[in-house]
Amino acid sequence: MRLTEDEIYRSSTQFRLWSFTPGPLASLRATTNSTATQRVKAAVKRLRESRTQSETNSEAENGTSTPVNFNREPDCLTTEEEMKVVEAFCERAIKLGEFLKFPSNVTATGVQYIRRFYLFNSPMTYEPKSIMISALFLANKIEDNKMECSDYANSIPGTTKEQVLAPEFLITQALRFTFDIRHPFRGLQGGHMEMLAIAQGKAAVLPYVERTAGELQQEMLKLPILPGGVATKMSQHQVENRLLAATDKAKHTLRSSAIQSDAYFLYTPSQIWLAAYLLADEVLALFYLSTKFPSTIDAETPTGIAKLKVVATVRACASVLAPDPALQKLSNAERDAMVKQEVNAVKAILVKLRHCQDPDKMDLVKLNKAQKRDAGAEGKLEESVAKRRKLEREKNEKEADEFWGPELPKNGKKA
């Protein structure tokens, strides 16, 4: 009895609800953007109307602290600008996770929550800083990383526990109550161990590969450094170091660009770690893939086609993870300038965002309280019910205590 990894992954919510092809992903974001835009405009219009009314009432009130300028149509963010904002806050989440020394899967889960949240919600509706902080806390809860909320809030300047918890419900709803995130970290670790075994000549070779563990080891020792390069003759120790270096580099990619990009929406965890490995050491990655297929295959056969498809998919995923190639060609100074430019661009968008934030959803703590108050009013109506329950519960507790105790239980009372 054994399930294949594919079968397991296909039954996951990450695959069923949170995997997309690029087209639908883009159109989902466009819908979210237009809904939010309409909402902001409607809310501002409403406020403006009530404002003009109150102004006619009391002539005064000129300069207000409200950032939204009610006198003209708000200038809303575009979908691209929204994405830039979300990415900026994902980056902050990663930094916060590093600062608080969260395990990498906690931070990665938190970042995915932020990204998933903003597929269905716009930063114009829900202010990204609060969502970021709350999502990261939620990730701690889900990934079983012990963290008291008050400690967490205290370690972030200007944040209260209330603020951390207020958007929690919003987030769980936006996540469609699916919390499990499949990460590529463990896959990378497994692949590393497999490759280490090959280097040591101890590989468990798949039956159809038609090569022995020793042959695979010899092949690995001769692998060129760069694709298309000349064969080398490394010692086992050198290859082991090469593996370690590649895994470290891939790990870094998984902790940064993999969680900051759309990779999780578009690819599977194994595609992602292989892509990260490809960026770290292309020759090794392709060699590793080749050990999963028969050594001689005809490109026309189904197996051959499958192999080409796997490699093509991994390469496509790598292009999502890779740093911009244009950026790499530049000199250091030029690159710094570009980074700076990018930072300024994000700053400008954040300023713009402040002017088109949905005024209805500005204060999440208040909003959350209001919602609970509503529910509370409902609850009060049933005070007698609550009281009866309390008595019942106390009785149950008492009976429970007696269950193993010296006294005989007063059975039958409840029935």
Binding site: S11, T32, A42, F120, R176, A375, N396, F403, K414
Partner: protein, 406 residues
Amino acid sequence: MALSPLDSPKPVPVAAKTLPAKAKALTILNASTSSPSTASTPSSDGAQDLSEKLNEQVRRKYVTGSKLGEGTYAIVYSGHIRNDPTSLVAIKKLKVNKDYPDGLAPDAFREVRALQELSHPNIIKLYAVFSTRDQNLNIVLEHLPRGDLESLMQDKKVSYGPADVKAWTNMLAKAVWFCHENSILHRDIKGNNLLIAADGEVKLADFGLARTFSDPYRPMTYNVITRFYRPPELLYGARHYGGAVDVWSMACVVAELILRHFFLPSNTDIEQIDAITDVFGSCTEDVWPGVSRLDHYIPPAKGNIKRPKPMIYWKQQFGMLGDEGIEFLKTMFVLDPRKRATARQVLNHPYWKSNPKPTPKELLPRAGGGVEKMAEDLKRRGGEIEEKDGRADKVARKLNFADLKR
């Protein structure tokens, strides 16, 4: 939105005995039976978030019916799909946990997280999750009206034989295997978490303590699994463990099915260790290398090393299983978790191929009593559940070191 409810069972409506069993362990207040039609969150401008809309769609799909039971942690209602009143579901409405100050309680998340990922005939199905206005989570679960294995085991009016035990054990083993294949530890396997569907299928439920396998070197809590079913490594405070903990609990359930009473009952953790070592012998470095390094390990007093019970004991107690069955049971009851059978090995055991063949699920014995009995059971169960499954018991007690010194 999880799964299509098309394949939902169509049991007798009133036969809602099971789900109150789910009414366990949560908190209080707010018992408003939400009528789905009025539940829309009022939004000042009428526009809704996309996620609010999705939630609304799910909520509209189900009708919440009468209350089946209530625990500290949830209220359970019967319900059905709006346009198909015959397709019954159980709706578990989580209460706000007052003891947990940091937002929504982690056990709710654990349960939802695990069940969203698991789809297997022997695991309770989660059809959907939605929220109501008061920000409570409502979990729509499979309707399982035929009680649980614990009540069946205790119901002296029901008689069953080795073929029936084999059938139940097999369904349990498949459920545990599937969890482990999906890298999920259940951590609370016991008879009353094994519910029975209308067609006799056994379903593993209550994933409030479940979690995914930890990464190597990352510690987990040993404070899990109801005491009678807790394996020795957790009693000794192991913080790194795997599927073996669930296998031990599974073995306890099988043993109880044979004995028709609790196999290893005790009042404290210390007594639990005694109960285990009385049957399986003392935990020493010889039988379990490394055991003495566990945090709460207590070496047996010199000259007081217990020996495991001889084969004759097993034949007397568990003769119903046959020789192969006893061997099978003992592979799951190995003290050293590394030598204990894995869920996969359990399913590959020759026991399944030997005679008798497992009873087909339609022919399995059922708990007696008609609808009235069922309703009566329901009422009483509430109290019983509080006793055995209340939070107090789940948050297992730590070892009492004062006792140890004496």
